[in-house]
């Protein structure tokens, strides 16, 4: 600690250059933090995705919905523990650009526990929903966005027409819900019975079944069994587990892992050259000062460690600021990509990485400075 003022003064000998170097380190580690955090968040999201929940939908996207009666056949497939279903009413609120979706769920207590990743509802709210045919549960985000409160009646305009030809659907807000793993800002939870009875077409159909298997290890077998059950029927199914779906989503945006590794490597290599150049320049400029330190009794080793210390302090400070900025950005980024987070391991790896960069970049110039011949250096030779 007693050498810190000496290290500090060495760092700030040329403030302009130090600030530029520091900014390079900050930007590099902010990028490292964001990308590594993103990767970790994605990995975590896939790891957290449930393998035991199977999502059963029509084979073709936007194709004919599935008969609601499929629920009984699904329940009879070995390995399936519970089955729930939901349908979706797409609408807009007040303006054509304000999309609101109503996830209409069946009247059942199983929604208290079925898939809390998508809908997590308490018993009182579920009870209130069941008692009010036109009732909906809203998320806090949505209530805040539109200024809704419990008791409000809200009209939605939808291309799904009612039996009477009306395109306006009226809902009464009776409670709230949350979701653990998905964006809650664009949908609310309503009653399937109301949707099914009121709509003009597709009565008795469902677009989403959720089957929970007893043993997640058997998910693949059960998935195949479900699709085989409805194969060659007029309503074939496509079944994927939540985990498989999460993996497919990530694969659809390319090899994220490779992209992140490539970018982080390129940034860190560029940083290596930059800091190395700064260290070489600073030791060359300070040759007479370093010679004075040696004159006063600083050993070769002490001079070496002093210069290494300067690089380490600069790199660690830059890394901590950069990682801090990345960390500060995550709450905002997580609004767009749910599940993003920066675990402590990323910070730890970042700080260790910054020390390694400092050692790699400063070792050669520090070694050269430590071997200075005092007499030659003082004479400017």
């Amino acid at each position: 600690m007693k050498f810190l003022p000496l290290i500090w003064s060495g760092i700030w000998r040329k403030p302009g250059r130090t600030i530029l170097t520091l900014m390079q380190v900050i930007v590099a580690f902010a990028l490292f933090g964001v990308l590594q955090g993103m990767k970790t968040g994605v990995d975590q999201a896939i790891a957290d995705a449930r393998a035991d929940v199977l999502h059963v939908t029509p084979t073709a996207f936007g194709g004919a919905p599935l008969p609601r009666a499929y629920i009984e056949r699904l329940k009879s497939i070995p390995g399936i523990e519970t089955v729930g279903f939901a349908d979706v009413l797409a609408g807009t609120y007040q303006k054509p650009s304000q999309f609101v979706y109503v996830v209409a769920i069946e009247n059942s207590n199983k929604w208290l526990t079925l898939i809390p990743e998508v809908i997590h509802v308490g018993p009182n709210d579920l009870d209130a929903l069941r008692k009010t045919r036109t009732g909906v549960l809203v998320s806090a985000d949505m209530a805040k966005e539109y200024g809704w409160r419990i008791g409000d009646r809200i009209p939605l305009t939808s291309t799904t027409l009612q039996s009477n030809g009306a395109e306006t659907w009226t809902f009464d807000i009776v409670g709230t819900f949350t979701a653990r793993g998905t964006e809650q800002g664009t949908f609310m939870v309503g009653n399937y019975d109301y949707l099914d009875e009121a709509r003009a077409i597709n009565k008795g159909t469902v677009r989403h079944f959720y089957a929970v298997v007893a043993d997640p290890k058997q998910a693949a077998v059960v998935t195949e069994a479900i699709d085989n059950t409805f194969a060659n029927s007029s309503n074939e199914t496509r079944t994927v587990s939540f985990k498989e779906y999460a993996q497919q989503q990530m694969q659809s945006i390319g090899d994220l892992d490779f992209a992140i590794r490539s970018i982080v490597s390129a940034v860190l290599v560029a940083l290596l050259f930059s800091v190395a150049s700064m260290m070489m320049q600073t030791t060359r400029e300070r040759t007479p000062e370093l010679a004075v330190l040696k004159t006063l009794g600083f050993s070769d080793q002490a001079v070496f460690l002093l210069l290494i210390g300067e690089a380490v302090v600069t790199c660690i400070a830059g890394a901590i600021i950069g990682l801090g900025l990345a960390m500060g950005a995550f709450p905002y980024a997580a609004k767009f990509v749910p599940g993003l987070s920066m675990p402590m391991v990323v910070i730890g790896v970042g700080v260790i990485g910054s020390v390694l960069i400092a050692l790699l970049t400063a070792s050669a110039p520090a070694l050269r400075a430590s071997k200075l011949e005092i007499v030659d250096a003082l004479a400017g030779r």
Binding site: P5, S9, G10, T295, L296, S299, Q301, V375
Partner: protein, 231 residues
């Protein structure tokens, strides 16, 4: 009298390209404890090389150098560095202070190599700056001080670890007459009142008058040795 610095048959050769240049040749010298020695001579006579050898900044090509009871020509680089920190205080012509450190931080540097605790270091720094008359300017950086004041800081830095000898290379070479006299008087006080052995290289005969002994070096040999007017 005890000889504190003893050079016996010391030669120093430098390489200049393929040529070997002899700077000192079979040099013999004894400096006694409490001496204030001025080393004079024309440029290239070898006086700075002699000072570098005495201060342990350089090693001789041959011969032995005994300073403060140690054969310093036999010490390793690391041991020589440790020895310098304990026994030698250096004062340079151009002060050689750390430009980004305050006066007190500059003075503290030699103590960083010791196990002296922080509070004690502060006390010693304060006393050293007081001794050189700069206690009011302890927070100032070198560029905020005059040449004479910077040299005082350098002297305080040289004294802080209580060295056996003070080695001064043209300490007044960059100063005006008034500042030069102040610095020389300060060195004289350190020599007379505090018993410090001072070895000073100078071109200036008036500076040499402050010494108790004047040595003249020419062509790598001791050409003259006489008592100074201050003796």
């Amino acid at each position: 009298m005890t000889s504190i610095i003893s050079l016996t048959d010391v030669s120093k050769h430098y390489r200049r390209g393929r040529e070997s240049v002899a700077v000192l040749n079979g040099f013999n010298l004894d400096i006694f404890e409490g001496d204030f020695v001025a080393i004079m001579g024309p440029s290239g006579s070898g006086k700075t090389s002699l000072l570098n050898l005495i201060g342990g900044l350089d090693v001789p090509t041959s011969g032995s150098i005994n300073v403060a009871g140690e054969r310093i020509d036999r010490l390793s680089r690391a041991a020589l560095a440790r020895w310098r920190s304990r026994h030698v205080g250096f004062v340079f012509q151009f002060y050689n202070l750390m430009p980004t450190l305050s006066a007190e931080r500059n003075v503290e540097i030699p103590l960083l190599l010791t196990s002296v605790p922080y509070a004690e270091r502060k006390r010693k720094v304060s006393a050293a700056l007081d001794l050189v008359g700069l206690s009011e300017r302890h927070k100032h950086k070198p560029n905020e001080l005059s040449g004479g004041q910077q040299q005082r800081v350098a002297i305080a830095r040289a004294l802080i670890a209580d060295p056996t000898i003070l080695v001064c290379d043209e300490p007044t070479g960059d100063l005006d007459r008034h500042s030069a006299e102040e610095i020389l008087e300060l060195l004289q006080v350190l020599n007379r009142q505090y018993g410090k052995t001072v070895v000073m290289v100078t071109h200036d005969p008036r500076a040499a008058e402050y010494a108790t002994r004047q040595l003249h070096v020419d062509k790598g040999q001791l050409s003259d040795s006489r008592l100074g007017t201050a003796a």
